[in-house]
Symmetry: none
Subunit: 208 residues, 4 copies
DNA sequence: TGTTAACCGAGACGGTACGTCGCGTCTTTCT
DNA sequence: AGAAAGACGCGACGTACCGTCTCGGTTAACA
């Protein structure tokens, strides 16, 4: 996921690299300070010391900055593997709660969600990001199956989404805060649904 | 929910009323055509024939327009009452699916969600709207209890949110579309969780 | 000079009178504080407690306010009469210097001059004011003739203008300040011209 | 006198130059047609085809336009040199009369005087303009001294102002028109004062 | 180790929309 | 019935940020 067909690919060293680093850093600072709404190319250019024109050339605009920041922040944190499905799901939920609960760590993902509302590029990046995340998180389910905790035919992605959806809903739609208690409830509900066979069967292809 | 402390309250008749109607109508049209991103005070003023300055005076800006449109569109559609919890929940889910699936009917609510990302006012209006909606929808659960389908202590709002959260998640976060199949799955999951006692107990006060 | 054919002439008592007093007072305060540029109907209405609409009805606008203030401030100060032409002219010059040198006393006349640039009404009022002033000041010349200081045929108004013109020029055109030394020079120049017979003859009718 | 520290200084060629020419021309047209009161950035932008934002960027507002127009119109007309002081002064007076008598040629200077009432920048430009003009006009006096028409110690600037002050006074303060007869009187008065020794001595430094 | 294509700095501009100010006019409402 | 208070139309203001263009200057990468 990222910036393609824009300058900066062919000579990715030296000043080019320094500029990218400076711009990404400035973007993160701006996001942390003023959020998505306060993010402007102008300010990022100023803060980074890279000229506005260059920012446009290489990132194409505000959404490009955010997408690149998402790429850069793409912490490949490992999927939890505790030995039990419930604990794994709980860990996944806690991760969401903790990330968005921290205004610094949550700044970029929050901004990406916001940006996705405005820009196709950001939306694509977000969806890819989530797809990747959910895909990897599906390993949790796979291991549960291997352990015999679940029967073989379970839509793993659906299980993962069942955990995260209510959290995002509260965070971005109803504006409620989330905490570990909510996370616990979410996990419990998911387990109940899984055990009731609601997510039986393979993944349905995403409807786009 | 609504516009307060702004002109138009004290002499709510005559031209004042005509202007409001014209502006709200224009807002709806603009929203339906260009969405939230394309909604500008300038365009609404032009389309409505009401002067820009007046729009600013009375609505304060784009978010005020949307809030007022939400108020005006506040269709007090009745909560479903089919005689069974499952059918009621399914009806609630279908309502969400159908509303947001229709680009015209869904325009305003979608815009409100978008606007809530930018504006405190819009966010407040959205949250109030959802709280009201979920509150009324809780009647579904109350009736199920009365019928003996459920035991007495169930957090009704939690049940309702359990139905809607995954739908909003797909609509606004992952960008997936929703259909009746998804709705069915959501309802099934919710019922499983309810039956497993996940939502037992009274509502916890909202964490804001 | 003044407001004619506008409301407020026929019932000049009670509230009508109070309103006029309040508005004039507010106008003077605003002028003294913010000068002509800062004088707005809105502010005067607010300060005076008289409704904006009423101000428009009775004064017609900013220029009306100024004209009325000029009327109200129309101090019929006596023309100097010291017994010598030179001393009289010097007194006239000092009066100008002192008036415009004092930022409070000078506020209204300065504002009138400014206003005359924008509004026909204010210009008319100013010209009438000056004509009146110069006309009365001509008494100085008349007395000099009576005393035998001057021969009979002198354009009295021209003499008076010869004294004031350089002062206004400095004040309003070149932006220089004026002081008593300048006033003295102006008087000396005028006397020289008078004695050289430059202003001999009757007044020429004003060229408008 | 002029625009400083604003865009357009560093790359004064190409489009930049074309824009400046277009804007100045449009300003002159607007001034000639509607006078100072009718001069708006909006109209100048429209007429010139240069975007409003650009006009603000480079000229800063209406006063900047006028200042620049004054610069551009800064016709360095030569100071008269006829061989006699009286004729020279008369020529100076006629120049003022003719300039302001012609509604086209007089448009810019009139506007500058008006603008000087509103804006510090315009005032500064006007004062500088007049200082320059009077300074150059002082050559008339110098030559008279060289010819022996006057004794050596005469405040040349005072002489020049003595000629122009009454004319500006009539034009801008009393609203009278000026003609050659008035100009003659003014010259006569000045000569009388000069001969009487009123303007003896060097220039006093301007009191600002 | 040059050279050259790639990248960048710099300044100015067109454009959309914003939000505001003050003027002067209507028109609803209340007495 | 008539005015007072409220709302409005209107033109202009000055600004923010967007995205683009043109020029000329560096510089990374490859021959």
């Amino acid at each position: 996921v990222g910036v393609t067909e824009l300058p900066g690919r062919r000579r990715p060293g030296g000043r080019t690299a320094r500029n990218r680093a400076a711009v990404v850093a400035a973007t993160l600072v701006e996001l942390a300070r003023h959020g998505y709404a306060g993010l402007s190319v102008e300010n990022v250019a100023e803060r980074s010391g890279v000229h506005k024109t260059t920012v446009y050339r290489r990132w194409g605009g505000v959404d490009g900055l955010i997408v690149d920041a998402l790429d850069a922040a793409d912490d490949d944190r490992p999927v939890p593997d505790t030995g039990s499905l419930e604990a794994d799901l709980r860990a996944l939920a806690y991760e969401v709660v903790d990330t968005f609960g921290d205004s610094v760590r949550g700044a970029v993902p929050t901004a990406v969600v916001h940006a996705a509302f405005h820009s196709e590029r950001a939306a694509t990046a977000l969806h890819a990001f989530l797809a990747d995340r959910h895909g990897r998180a599906a390993g949790v389910v796979a291991r549960a199956i291997a352990r015999g905790e679940l029967s073989g035919s379970v839509d793993a992605a659906a299980v993962v989404r069942s955990v995260t959806a209510p959290l995002y809903f509260r965070l971005f739609i109803t504006g409620e805060t989330v905490d570990r208690e909510v996370a616990g409830q979410v996990v419990a509900a998911t387990l109940a649904a899984v055990r009731a066979g609601v997510y039986r069967g393979q993944a349905r292809p995403p409807l786009l």
